[in-house]
């Protein structure tokens, strides 16, 4: 068991609380840096996807996990980023500028979507983002002069300052740098007054408002930041896939993003990464065990949907804190051995927080 003696107020907001953090995250960083030499090309590609999805997950986590607004149209932001990047890169714009534009345009679209969020909340907001997602998908499919319509669009390899990143390793490092950058940005944001305001809005809008938090400004800001991260992820996704078409940014993609953060653990930065690992490795795991199942189960086209659905149900019912919550429990068990009590993480039975007005 580790006891942290606080001698300074700055300790409260330190990113690394103690030596253990520094050691383990340092080790993880070394492992990630050495990954191109340790793993085969296929696994490196999967790792790149995990990083890309984590960036999108961080954005959605900021919105859903920390601000308490949930979006059923997040794939649309991903798509806006991806298409911006595709169009600009193909026009010969260097990578950093294109990426900034992708993030900026996504953020601008996020601002627009965030505007109804000021007036509507809860389920209405969910429907508004859902509707928005459908409309954007249709725009991608119909605006053929720019997006190539349903036929999709190819995208060239990223290029900056005369340096072409066309190898898998180079692109992996690019994703790694951006993922680490976004994580640090989110961590910093969350310990700043803005981040605290987001969390306050999540916990109670009314009390946040009475503490002097401008709801409209912070909600729109949250939408914009979240959309910007999704846009960055979309841009990287476009480069990784080298080909994008509207159906990659459909409602199913939005739901997969939500599934990712719920499984990872709503309201934790770790959750975005754990969820991304889950989302990418699950189809692989299914493919592995497929051969050992009876034919009518193993070869059925709906198998993946069933597994995703059941996993989602199981997590909401039994582990609402997600994979990260499970890890916290295991860690607490080990740290306090043998004093772990069953009720330590028990969910409080509370009266439903009602949105009703009478």
């Amino acid at each position: 068991m580790r006891f942290i003696f606080k001698t300074d107020y700055r300790q409260d907001i330190k990113l690394a609380r103690h030596g253990g953090h520094v050691f383990w995250y340092g080790a993880l960083l070394l492992l990630l840096l050495a990954a191109p030499w340790l793993f085969a090309e296929y696994y490196l590609a999967q790792l790149t996807f995990i990083l890309i999805y984590s960036i999108a997950g961080l954005g959605l986590m900021l919105l859903a996990g920390f601000t308490g607004l949930f979006s059923l149209g997040h794939a649309a932001f991903l798509g806006v980023g991806a298409y911006t990047q595709a169009v600009m890169t193909n026009a010969g714009v260097p990578f950093p500028i294109a990426l900034a534009c992708a993030a900026g345009l996504s953020a601008a679209v996020g601002l627009v979507v965030g505007l109804p969020a000021l007036r509507v909340k809860g389920i209405y907001l969910g429907i508004a983002t859902l509707a928005f997602g459908f409309i954007v998908e249709e725009v991608f499919a119909r605006w053929e002069s720019v997006t190539g319509g349903n036929a999709g669009i190819h995208i060239k390899a990223p290029e900056m300052f005369g340096w072409k990143l066309d190898s898998a390793e180079a692109f992996y490092f690019l994703c790694l740098v951006i993922a680490i950058g976004s994580t640090l940005a989110i961590l910093n944001l969350l310990r700043s007054p803005t981040g605290r305001a987001f969390v306050a809005i999540r916990d109670s809008e009314i009390s946040a408002q009475s503490m002097g938090i401008h709801l409209a400004r912070y909600k729109t800001l949250s939408f914009a930041l979240s959309a910007a991260l999704a846009g960055i992820a979309g841009a990287l996704y476009a480069h990784k896939m080298q080909f994008i078409s509207p159906e990659q940014f459909s409602l199913l993609q939005s739901i997969e993003l939500l599934l990712m953060i719920v499984v990872g653990g709503l309201g934790s930065v770790h959750g975005a990464f754990l969820g991304a690992i889950f989302l990418i490795s699950m189809p692989q795991a299914i493919a592995l065990v497929k051969d050992y199942l009876p034919t009518f189960v193993g070869q059925a086209p709906g198998l993946q949907g069933v597994v995703f659905g059941l996993v989602l149900i199981a997590f909401v019912l039994f582990e609402p804190l997600g994979l990260y919550g499970r890890w916290l429990k295991i860690r607490t068990y080990l740290q306090t051995f043998p004093f772990y009590r069953k009720g330590m993480f028990k969910r409080q039975k509370s009266f439903q927080k009602s949105d009703r007005l009478k």
Partner: protein, 298 residues
């Protein structure tokens, strides 16, 4: 004449949206949660009817009634097993839970060998019948009424009357209204709120099954027919999420707009017309047409 024709087919489609939206609203009023599995329940209902008619060889009416009853039972069980344990958790968890239920239901149906991935027609007695109203004897300029669509409109009207009577006159319906206004107070008055919630889920599932059985002759029965549920959300929102008549009216509005947009507007607008309407309504009247505007007190 053409306009009338379009409006009528829009109304028929709108009735389906309205019925699914009715399920959303019933569940929302009772448990303050939103079920994303409603479209899939509709799909299960249609498959249930299909199984009763083709596999078990039931006569038409028996098949219809047994699939509705079966879905009602399924709804009650679903509430008991999956929804009740997490009531009181944030609405977000329940939304994710019902998305999971929908995924699982759709996946399981496609896993049935030979049946799940195919599209089927539901053998109803009124298949492909049309009525001609007015016009010349040769049929020129007549209003052609598709019996399938008329059945949809008629059944929806009857169902609405039944539901209206249920909520207005029966003890059960009044208890449901009380519980939806204030669960705690209703509980103190001796109303078994938990059991009522189960019944509401059963009712919503039964309404979804009816929608599925009505829709089946017009489109086909297939595993992805549940996606139509996503267009019922705009219907529920346009009507105001907490209002039963609003759900039907919202459905009709969405249906008619969609039908007219499909004819008069350029390609592709039809698919997103419902969502454009809902965004406009949310901008102009955030609580929907029939929603009440109240401010939450601390």
């Amino acid at each position: 004449m053409q306009l009338l024709q379009l409006v009528i087919s829009g109304i028929a489609q709108g009735c389906i949206y309205g019925l699914i939206a009715l399920g959303f609203v019933l569940i929302y009023k009772a448990t303050e949660t939103v079920s994303f599995a409603q479209g899939e329940l509709m799909m299960l209902g249609a498959f249930g009817g299909l199984a009763c008619m083709t596999l078990l060889g039931f006569p038409f009416w028996l098949a219809i009634l047994s699939s509705i009853a079966g879905m009602a039972l399924f709804g009650v069980l679903l509430e008991r097993l999956v929804i009740r344990p997490i009531l009181g958790q944030p609405a977000f968890s329940i939304v994710m839970l019902t998305i999971g239920v929908g995924y699982t239901a759709r996946g399981l149906i496609t896993m049935i060998p030979g049946i799940g991935t195919e599209t089927h027609t539901l053998p109803v007695p009124y298949k492909d019948m049309i009525w001609k109203v007015g016009g010349e004897a040769s049929g020129q300029g007549a209003l052609i009424l598709n019996v399938e669509q008329m059945v949809v409109i008629g059944s929806t009207a009857v169902l609405c009357l039944i539901l209206f009577a249920l909520f207005k006159y029966s003890k059960l319906g009044i208890a449901m209204q009380a519980a939806s206004q204030n669960q705690l107070a209703a509980y103190y008055m001796g109303i078994p709120v938990k059991r009522l919630n189960g019944l509401v889920w059963g009712l919503a599932a039964a309404v979804a099954a009816i929608a599925g059985l009505l829709l089946a002759p017009i489109t086909f029965v297939h595993a992805n027919m549940g996606f139509i549920g996503l267009k019922a959300f705009p219907a529920a929102v346009v009507g105001g999420f907490g209002s039963l008549p609003g759900a039907i009216v919202g459905g009709l509005i969405i249906g008619i707009v969609e039908s007219l947009a499909g004819f008069y507007a350029p390609d592709g607008i039809k698919d997103i017309a419902a969502y454009v309407v809902v965004l406009i309504v949310l901008m102009v009247k955030p609580n929907g047409l029939f929603g009440e505007k109240l401010r939450k007190k601390v």
